[in-house]
């Protein structure tokens, strides 16, 4: 585990370097339990950095989100590094981006923070409605300690953790220039809760389940936009000529959208759970993506974003690969 003071000191040192543009971390948000991404440009900015079980945002998405606009004539692009604070899953996103050449190694400076899992905001609100009035959280062994203005409360970690954290296999960053704090002991075999139940259901029941979920989709695209792996400049969903997915918001088009996205994430999803966290309609997208993660792991022994030297899943081939799906 890591002390916030250590993170702040390190951040100050990093942003003072000439080859670093800024560091992206987390700070306390503007209300309740919310946390906001925080850009540190000066040593003073570092004072606001925090790291707690409320720090869900996967900041690697900001590596590819920045628009590269044409520069005025004669102006050179800023080639300084972006420094990032990453948890275990976030670091896997960075590795995956690296292996598929979405980012350049020289462009980033990764600082890892071991993580015991982040809080699912819906579980938090359900169990502690007062969290909307303000709360701070910290890990304490197998418990999470919540500090409300009125006093402290403790709860078992698994009662509050986000679904993707319950089955996390990589709580420690797999790739980082430096890891701040002590590593934590992994706690899961990677089997996602809820996925097995769905697998056991009949195809009709599964279809009915997803029909209900996808019908609620508002098509705000927050799942796509928050995803560090969704960085195509020309997304199939935005295409108008041809229009692959109509803009009409209905079950059929919504399903086309979500299934297209799930397929584009095969062997690439790192299971950070951001899609599920940000969905205003609460669609359990993690279950869909996690199923694909498990398929790829069980059939091909591949886990996205765990080895900076590996080839991307869909660009690699092993003569021993299963072929039984080929008709």
């Amino acid at each position: 585990m890591v002390d916030q003071a250590v993170i702040r000191e390190k951040a100050k040192e990093i942003v003072s370097r000439e080859d670093v543009k800024h560091l992206v971390g987390w700070r306390k948000g503007t209300f309740g339990y919310r946390v906001s991404p925080h850009w540190v440009e000066t040593p003073e900015d570092a004072e606001k950095l925090i790291f707690s079980p409320l720090c869900s945002p996967n900041l690697t998405t900001y590596l590819t989100l920045e628009e590269k606009l044409p520069l005025p004539k004669g102006e050179e692009p800023d080639r300084r590094k972006t420094a990032l604070l990453v948890k275990g899953c976030d670091s896997r996103a960075a590795v995956q981006l690296l292996t598929e050449q979405g980012i350049e190694k020289e462009q980033v400076l990764i600082l890892g923070v071991p993580c015991r899992g982040v809080i699912d905001q819906r579980k938090l609100e359900e169990k502690f409605p007062e969290a909307l009035g303000g709360v701070e959280a910290e890990w304490d062994g197998d418990k999470i300690r919540l500090r409300f203005p009125e006093g402290e409360k403790e709860i078992a970690r698994e009662e509050l953790l986000a679904g993707n954290c319950l089955n996390c296999r990589y709580p420690n960053p797999v790739w980082a220039e430096e890891i701040l704090g002590d590593e934590v002991e992994p706690w899961s075999d990677g089997k996602a809760p809820g996925v097995e139940e769905l697998e056991k259901a009949s195809p009709d029941d599964r279809w009915a389940f997803w029909e209900k979920e996808f019908s609620r989709c508002l098509r705000c695209y927050s799942c796509r936009n928050v995803c560090p792996m969704c960085y195509c400049e020309d997304c199939i969903l935005d295409r108008l000529n041809p229009t692959w997915v109509y803009r009409s918001v209905n079950y059929s088009e919504n399903t086309a959208f979500h299934i297209a996205r799930a397929f584009h994430l095969v062997g690439r999803c790192v299971g950070c759970g951001e899609c599920e966290r940000v969905c205003p309609a609460g669609i359990p997208l993690g279950k869909l993506n996690q199923k694909m993660v498990e398929e790829v792991r069980d059939k091909y022994g591949f886990e996205a974003g765990t080895d900076p030297e590996s080839l991307p899943f869909q660009a690699s081939y092993d003569p021993q690969d299963q072929e039984d799906f080929i008709l």
């Binding site: 503007t30 906001s36 628009e67 508002l218 098509r219 705000c220 229009t243 309609a281």
Partner: protein, 340 residues
């Protein structure tokens, strides 16, 4: 003034009486979402008028559907089929901020050409509002001429008194609606005063505020300010804030053709999307999240004010609550105010 009382034990006969005469829309809970849907007595989802501070999706959907068929056609044919006629409907349980929002959006759909699709729905939609008891932590309606008991835009205001609801007709249409369901109502006596107290108490619970008077002028001066880079860099460019905003009203129009069956439809669009102002040439006057964020704020707190002399924000706080990365419009406004 028509003032009535509805005992909660008469709730279902009241709802049924409303639904018998017209299409009735009610807030229901679907997953974690509270939204307004047309009522049917067989529906499975529970009607929930009390378990939420406000619906997560604003009731604008009833007058400005997310996807709306404008007409249907057969490809290669000159004939067009108009959409099905809209029935008279009543929305039950609309929060005062959302009713005010509809009042604001009305300006947009009739300032030059009348938008018949919108206006037809709007004219046929009566709003039975429900005053707020427990404002959400991000509510700030009182900063923008609103209140938990505001009647602007409503036909009837309802106030929850615990065992009963107090109902007050605000418009003639509201009066008629109350008359049509009279059998489930009682005459009000002292309840009006009780309702006023509840509203006042709710007003006191609103914790967030902004003094917005000088914002339009300041926004005009901050066009190129680096402030926008700092505000927008956390933005993911998703449509959550705009889709859940009761005053956002941008749409796109497209033809959707399957086989020979075509339909022209319009659907919500969002100024936060990259394709929003993308020209056919490939040029985009709002090429990055910086310009898009700036547009969202300017549209509500600057352009709309210049055009209609009103701020196009009602302080419902949905954009704050739902933003995945905690971009907070009140924080933006305070930074705008501090910047000059």
């Amino acid at each position: 003034m028509t003032e009535k009382v509805l005992q909660k034990e008469n709730w279902s006969s009241f709802v049924q009486a409303l639904a018998d005469a017209r299409e009735l829309w009610l807030p229901v809970k679907e997953g974690p979402l509270h939204k307004f849907v047309p009522y049917s007595s067989e529906q499975e989802t529970p009607v929930d008028l009390e378990g939420y501070a406000n619906s997560s999706v604003p009731p604008k959907e009833a007058v400005f559907p997310q996807t709306e068929t404008m007409f249907r056609y057969q490809t290669g044919d000159q004939e067009i089929c108009p959409p099905e006629a809209i029935k008279e409907r009543v929305l039950l349980g609309v929060r005062p901020c959302d009713a005010r929002a509809m009042d604001l959006v009305d300006h947009v759909f009739q300032w030059d050409e009348d938008d018949t699709y919108y206006l037809d729905r709007r004219k046929k939609t009566a709003l039975l509002g429900l005053a707020c008891h427990e404002p959400f932590p991000n509510c700030f309606c009182t900063s923008l001429e609103g209140s938990p008991g505001s009647t602007q835009g409503l036909d009837v205001l309802m106030v929850d008194l615990g065992e009963s609801y107090y109902l007050r007709a605000v418009t003639d249409r509201g009066k008629k609606i109350l008359q049509s369901v009279e059998s489930s109502l009682e005459e009000a006596s002292e309840q009006g005063k009780q309702a006023e107290e509840i509203i006042k108490k709710a007003e006191g619970k609103i914790g967030r505020k902004v003094e917005a008077e000088d914002v339009p002028e300041k926004l005009a001066q901050l066009w190129e300010d680096p402030l926008w880079d700092r505000i927008s860099r956390a933005c993911l460019g998703c449509g959550t804030c705009t889709y859940l905003c009761p005053t956002c009203h941008c749409f796109d129009i497209q033809d959707e053709v399957e086989g020979y069956e075509g339909r022209r439809c319009r659907m919500w669009d969002s100024c936060m999307f990259g394709e929003y102002t993308l020209h056919a040439s490939g040029h985009n006057p709002r090429p990055s999240r910086r310009e898009r964020t700036r547009n969202r704020i300017n549209h509500k707190y600057h352009y709309f004010v210049r055009k209609f002399d009103k701020i196009a924000c009602v302080g419902c706080g949905r954009c704050i609550t739902s933003c995945p990365v905690n971009i907070d419009i009140l924080d933006i406004l305070s930074r705008v105010k501090e910047a000059l």
